[in-house]
């Protein structure tokens, strides 16, 4: 029986791996997700059958409640709100692992070894930190909490002290497991450090934070797997942990920043403390949508560059209508997606897919950057820092070295923004003052609808 149980866990782990492997292409991705969910079903049934002493009624009630909540969110969530949803789900996964470890500590099924106590501490620490950190991230994305970094004097010192205390307490409890109060202290300190590490991070750095918290929820599951000596948890947790870390790394590279700089740098703060007066005055040309329509009419190749502003304005459907109209007139239309556009990895791609834009028109940074040289119009929608040429040449700029989309190499750049406000990095974009740049002010959705109307009237 033991052998069959282990075999089935191995089988469900294999299904998880195959499932993720099929995510390597949009064509096979959906079946991959189905295969992974099948793996989960097998793991759950195996657990229920092989642990005859579990409280079945209670588990059934729990599963029903959880399924209803999960399904409700999955059906109702707007695609623009995906980052929030992933953030909060990361939190649930983290706290679930922490609760399991806590249950094992408070009511152990067998006397605990030092190794078990150490892994329980790790599980509780990472799980609780993921939980509180995810809620702060959720609050920032949803707007409950200011998207600005929240910093105070001695913040990093305080975090360091809490971190060292958690380590000390964990060692203490491993040596003396009778100290239940120490255990509660670890939980409280982990909750506080989760908040402390997330509040100083600005809204634009959220893609990194969400990826990192994703990774933590995997690490929490793995350490719970060590506590329970369960391979399914260890393997799945390791997969998720690796996935989160890889995405974190991709996001950091997309901003040319180190992980430490994202976590401790509080970038975006300059915006409020104000150095705006020093920034160079730039003269911009502002066009109406009618004038812009004429430029589009004369163009042959158009590249659309969407940013978070497009998501805020819910303009993904409007942009598709404009692009389809232009394509019908025989023009080539592409979309250039910067790795950190939006609030989570791949956020723009999902929004544009929702608007029925075929995924083969969406090009990532490396694919698209040499396309700008023979491009007639680059249409920048609610993006700012990711198209700022200062990143290439101005070593004093906070975004210097960040890989950008070379929209300025197009014949004409049409930039839609609501106002002349600076981007998240708090820097004025010199692109707006370039000779080949034209500003069209207004909400992205309104602007695109007017533009479509003007294009049709030409």
């Amino acid at each position: 029986m033991i052998n069959l149980e282990s075999m089935l866990y191995v089988f469900s782990s294999v299904l998880f791996i195959i499932g993720i492997k099929r995510l390597s292409h949009p064509k096979t991705a959906r079946s991959g997700n189905f295969i992974a969910s099948l793996g989960m079903l097998i793991a759950i049934i195996t657990t229920l059958v092989s642990n005859s002493t579990v409280n079945l009624e209670l588990i059934a009630v729990g599963i029903v409640i959880g399924s209803v909540i999960g399904a409700f969110f999955a059906i109702r969530v707007e695609m623009t709100q995906m980052p929030q949803m992933v953030a909060i789900f990361n939190g649930f996964g983290g706290i679930a692992s922490a609760l399991i470890a806590a249950a094992e500590f408070l009511n152990p099924s067998e006397p605990l070894l030092s190794f078990s106590i150490a892994t329980i501490s790790l599980s509780v620490f990472v799980g609780t930190l993921t939980f509180t950190g995810s809620f702060i991230a959720f609050g920032k994305l949803q707007g409950f909490i200011s998207g600005q970094p929240i910093v105070f004097l001695g913040q990093q010192l305080l975090n360091a002290i809490i971190g060292i205390s958690i380590l000390g307490l964990s060692i203490y409890i491993t040596l003396d497991p009778e100290q239940i109060n120490i255990f509660y202290l670890i939980i409280a300190a982990s909750a506080i450090i989760g908040i402390g590490l997330t509040i100083p991070i600005g809204g634009a750095d959220m893609p990194v934070v969400i990826s990192l918290l994703n990774s933590y929820s995997g690490i929490a599951a793995t350490s719970t797997g060590f506590v329970l000596n369960n391979n399914a948890l260890i393997i799945s947790g390791a997969l998720v942990g690796a996935s989160g870390l890889i995405l974190t790394n991709i996001m950091c590279k997309g901003m040319n920043r180190s992980l430490a700089n994202v976590i401790f740098g509080a970038v975006g703060l300059e915006q409020t403390t104000g150095s705006d007066g020093e920034s160079k005055q730039i003269n911009v040309k502002s066009y109406s949508t009618e004038e812009a329509a004429m430029i589009f009419d004369a163009a042959e190749k158009i590249i659309v560059v969407p940013g978070y502003g497009l998501a805020v304005a819910q303009a993904q459907h409007a942009v598709r209508e404009v692009a389809e109209f232009l394509a019908k007139k025989g023009k080539k239309v592409l979309y250039a997606i910067h790795p950190v556009a939006g609030r989570m990895p791949g956020h723009m791609n999902v929004l544009l897919a929702e608007a029925n834009i075929p995924y083969d028109q969406l090009k990532d940074l490396d694919e698209v950057n040499n396309e700008f040289e023979d491009c007639d119009v680059a249409l920048v929608l609610g993006a700012n820092d990711v198209v700022n040429p200062a990143a290439r040449h101005d070593s004093s700029s906070p975004i210097y070295g960040m890989p950008i989309l070379d929209v300025d190499k197009s014949r004409t750049v049409i930039i839609n923004k609501r106002t002349m406000n600076t981007g998240f990095a708090g820097v004025q974009n010199e692109l707006f003052g370039y000779d080949n740049s034209i500003m069209v002010f207004g909400d992205a959705k309104d602007m695109l609808q007017k533009l479509l109307k003007d294009l049709k009237e030409l």
Partner: protein
């Protein structure tokens, strides 16, 4: 410590890195929500912990079952909803 489970862990990390680096940027959001669902594997641990002796352990396990199920069901469903939208011309 059982060296076997540690071996499993290390190999799983390598497999994870190998397959996840092949996921294109277009699918990074579904990857996150899908891996989120997979981290709901904690449900296995949650089920086991409801049998741990004592009231407190059972209730902690019960709460963990609910939260992990939210993760599993919500994660897989929303991933499917997203992947359905990815179409070629």
């Amino acid at each position: 410590m059982d060296i076997n489970i540690f071996t499993v862990f290390i190999l799983a990390v390598f497999v994870g890195v190998e397959i996840i680096t092949k996921v294109p940027p277009t699918l990074h959001t579904p990857l996150m929500s899908g891996s989120n669902a997979i981290s709901g594997i904690a449900i296995v641990g949650a089920i086991i912990s409801t049998k741990v002796g004592g009231e407190l352990g059972t209730w902690l396990g019960f709460t963990a079952v609910i939260l992990a199920t939210v993760n599993v069901v919500g994660g897989f469903m929303v991933t499917d909803r997203m992947l359905k939208m990815f179409k070629k011309k």
